[in-house]
């Protein structure tokens, strides 16, 4: 088992913690309030992940985690992190979407969003992973973000921790929305901060893993596939591949995150009705 890369928020050479949870190809470790994920290199980067090849997790929840001088050990596993390249997210795409994009630019983003929505629809139907009630809650958030900012905390509360799974669907959706609002820059700054504040207040209401990713998102930290998708929507390059990569995350997390990205675009006015107008 060899570590091949680590996220930019994985702490320095020495720390201690405990094993939080163990899955077929991933382990979560709690370290200084952060949740580090050691997972197979087949899965993409997150800010707090360590990607490894050739392993089957054999640690158990509650076992101690130790990292000294760059050697990370937990359960029977030992990883050498000293010479492992660090993944850092690319800078936001240039030029950014401005407050009033040219009609051509706006149309291209909307067309892209439609393409993404269609791919997501197919993905969800094929796997039967639709979560009833999620869309109603999402619409509520959209209305709050566009018209009634004082209702944002309430709308967030109805999403945080909603749905089954390790990272409940509502959490994944919120992360997707935050990703769009954070990477698109100035025009979305106010919406991002309103939403991030709401998320910070309610993050404790979900699972540990869900709360971890929500808190990261509220600080502007996102995983590789979601960043790739948002940037592809802005630049128009490689959109189908980036969409599929984003959908592949987790069991249903990918689809929920993509739903969040589409919601974020609508918050910014990139919706089909506008294209028609």
């Amino acid at each position: 088992m060899v570590a091949v890369s680590q996220g930019y928020l994985v702490p320095g050479p020495g720390f201690a913690g405990t094993v939080h949870s163990v899955f077929a190809t991933a382990c979560n470790l709690v370290v200084d309030g952060l949740l580090l994920t050691v997972h197979d290199a087949a899965a993409p980067h997150t800010p707090t992940s360590v990607r490894v090849t050739g392993w089957r997790p054999e640690a158990r929840a509650g076992e101690p985690v130790r990292c000294s001088a760059g050697i990370l050990s937990f359960g029977p596993h030992v990883l050498d992190l000293r010479a492992v390249p660090v993944w850092t997210p690319p800078p936001p795409p240039t030029p950014p979407l401005s407050l009033s994009p040219t009609p051509v630019r706006a149309r291209s983003v909307i067309t892209g969003a439609e393409q993404v929505a269609e791919l997501r629809e197919r993905h969800v139907l094929a796997r039967g992973i639709g979560v009833p009630g999620l869309d109603v809650r999402a619409e509520r958030l959209l209305e709050a973000l566009t018209d009634r900012p004082y209702e944002v905390p309430g709308a967030v509360a109805r999403l945080v921790g909603f749905g089954p799974g390790l990272t409940p669907s509502g959490d994944d959706l919120l992360v997707g929305t935050l990703a769009v609002l954070s990477r698109i820059g100035r025009p979305a700054a106010r919406a991002f901060h309103t939403l991030a504040d709401g998320v910070r207040v309610h993050a404790h209401r979900t699972t540990d893993v869900g709360a971890h990713y929500l808190r990261l998102a509220a600080e502007g930290h996102f995983s590789e596939p979601i960043i790739g998708l948002v940037d592809a929507l802005v630049s128009g390059a490689g959109l189908p591949a980036r969409t599929k990569a984003a959908l592949r995350v987790g069991a249903s997390s990918g689809a929920d995150g993509v739903a969040g990205v589409l919601l974020g675009l609508r918050v910014l006015g990139f919706s089909p009705d506008r294209k028609a107008a």
Binding site: R60, R66, S68, I71, S73, V78, D80
Partner: protein
């Protein structure tokens, strides 16, 4: 070396090994991990012991003594006759390293209370517990008197013990009688039925077996164990075949002593009804083989592994009577319906003496049935047995494993190898309920905790003047 072909062991960054291979070199990259549990001082002490001529020599002597021991079942006697220190004393032996009454685990306390009532020193288990707490009873590890017992391992003066003699050295080893499953003293039960059974074992059963065993004039146990390994036992958690083999030898002798028919029937029923009957005999045999290897100065061979329900302890040939202790590791096992890990007592008992002697978890390849306890496959079992060879001085040619092409079982654990590789000895074990008297609630596999071995390494280095900052 300039003319030699370079053959490199790469310890650390894997990339260097890949580069060397790309450049045409021969290279083996280790799956390295910080040795000695990550303690740099202990790691250095360990390094100074690797290949140390004194230690290597001592290990040869100790291992040779272990191999040449000939455990023979010779007698059945009350404990106070075998262990003269117990005669007329209120001394009770228990499993594992030394421990005070106040710190003992629930099942051990229950068993001791039962033994006190059994001896007639108190009327009820409650009074017995008070008596034990008052300091009026002495406690000591069975290991300190050449004895071993499974689980609580409680031996009181009137209980009968098996006597196993090492024909090579003349040394004696003892173990108590196996009471069967369910509510039994070794799991801390001490109700009237438990005590009644103990009285019957000490009276009628021991009385019947004593002349029968003596009639056998020394039953050689190593060949019997070797045979059981070929019949699906690993002689720790599975003793079905060995119990049958023992009975095969015992029954004709028993009949030849012409016992009362009712006695014979009850004895035969009891023995045939308990697949673990041989376990205690196996443990005494292992104890005899390992005591033969004890006390060789500077030897790093483990001579005992035992648990008292709180700590796991090991003893090492070159460090005399010292125990090196650490909290016991959790058991990876299956629980009987209705019980979970929350109900389990920490790992308990002297029965890891079987692993110390190369049986049990070390011989798991012999017993695919046992692997089911941990949801594993026969391949996992052979992997366990193979892996143990990495931490032993050698193998025992008398204990061969069919699944390993009749290769010999790993034996003679070297504390240096355990500390160096981090491979912890595998132990097959039963799981006791944490409350006294409930009994066995599961079975599984655990490991001997690493800190015991690193402590032993430091002590050995100290004995050679090699511990400390610079040597």
């Amino acid at each position: 070396m300039w003319s030699e072909h370079l053959d490199v062991v790469n310890v650390g960054l894997a990339g260097f090994g890949d580069d060397l291979r790309a450049a045409g070199g021969s290279v083996t990259t280790l799956d390295w991990r910080p040795p000695a549990g990550g303690d740099p001082d202990a790691a250095l002490a360990l390094a100074r012991l690797v290949g140390h001529p004194e230690v290597e020599r001592a290990n040869q002597v100790a291992f040779e003594r272990y191999l040449s021991a000939q455990p023979v079942l010779t007698d059945v006697v009350p404990a106070k006759e075998a262990i003269t220190e117990m005669a007329g004393e209120r001394l009770i032996l228990h499993s594992g390293p030394p421990i005070a009454w106040e710190r003992m685990a629930g099942p051990v306390r229950g068993a001791i209370a039962g033994a006190i009532v059994f001896e007639g020193w108190a009327q009820t288990p409650g009074q017995a517990a008070e008596l034990a707490a008052s300091g009026a009873i002495s406690f000591a590890p069975a290991h300190h008197y050449g004895a071993v017992g499974p689980m609580a391992g409680v031996i009181s003066p009137s209980m009968p013990v098996w006597v196993v003699r090492d024909a090579t050295s003349g040394r004696l080893a003892y173990s108590n009688f196996n009471e069967g499953l369910g509510k039994v003293l070794r799991f801390g039960a001490n109700g009237p039925d438990v005590l009644d059974r103990l009285r019957w074992i000490g009276g009628e059963l021991a009385g019947a077996l004593r002349p029968a065993v003596r009639r056998l004039e020394g039953l050689e146990l190593k060949p019997l164990i070797g045979q059981a390994l070929h019949m699906g036992d690993e002689v720790h958690n599975r003793n079905a075949a060995a119990t049958g083999l023992l009975l095969k030898r015992l029954l004709p002798a028993l009949i030849a002593t012409e016992p009362d028919n009712a006695v014979l029937r009850r004895a035969a029923e009891f023995i045939t009804g308990n697949d673990h009957f041989f376990l205690n005999v196996s443990m005494a045999a292992c104890k005899a083989m390992l005591d033969a290897a004890a006390g060789v100065p500077h030897s790093s061979m483990v001579t005992a592994m035992a648990r008292n329900g709180v700590n796991f302890g090991i003893r090492v040939s070159g460090t005399g009577d010292r125990w090196f202790q650490a909290p016991a590791n959790p058991v990876d096992g299956l629980f009987f319906p209705g019980y979970s890990v929350d109900d389990a007592a920490p790992d308990l008992g002297d029965s890891a003496i079987t692993e110390t002697a190369g049986l049990g978890g070390f011989a798991m390849a012999a017993s695919p049935a046992i692997v089911k306890f941990v949801g594993g496959t026969p391949a996992d079992a052979t992997a366990h047995s193979r892996r143990m060879r990495e931490i032993t001085i050698g193998t025992n040619p008398v204990f061969t494993l069919p699944a390993l092409d009749f290769g010999a079982s790993a034996a003679g654990i070297d504390v240096r190898a355990v500390a160096d590789t981090g491979l912890q000895p595998v132990i097959n074990t039963g799981i006791a309920h944490k409350e006294a008297g409930v009994g066995q609630i599961g079975a599984g596999v655990t490991t001997a905790p690493l800190p015991c071995f690193t402590q032993a390494v430091v002590a050995l280095a100290d004995g050679l003047g090699l511990a400390g900052a610079a040597a």
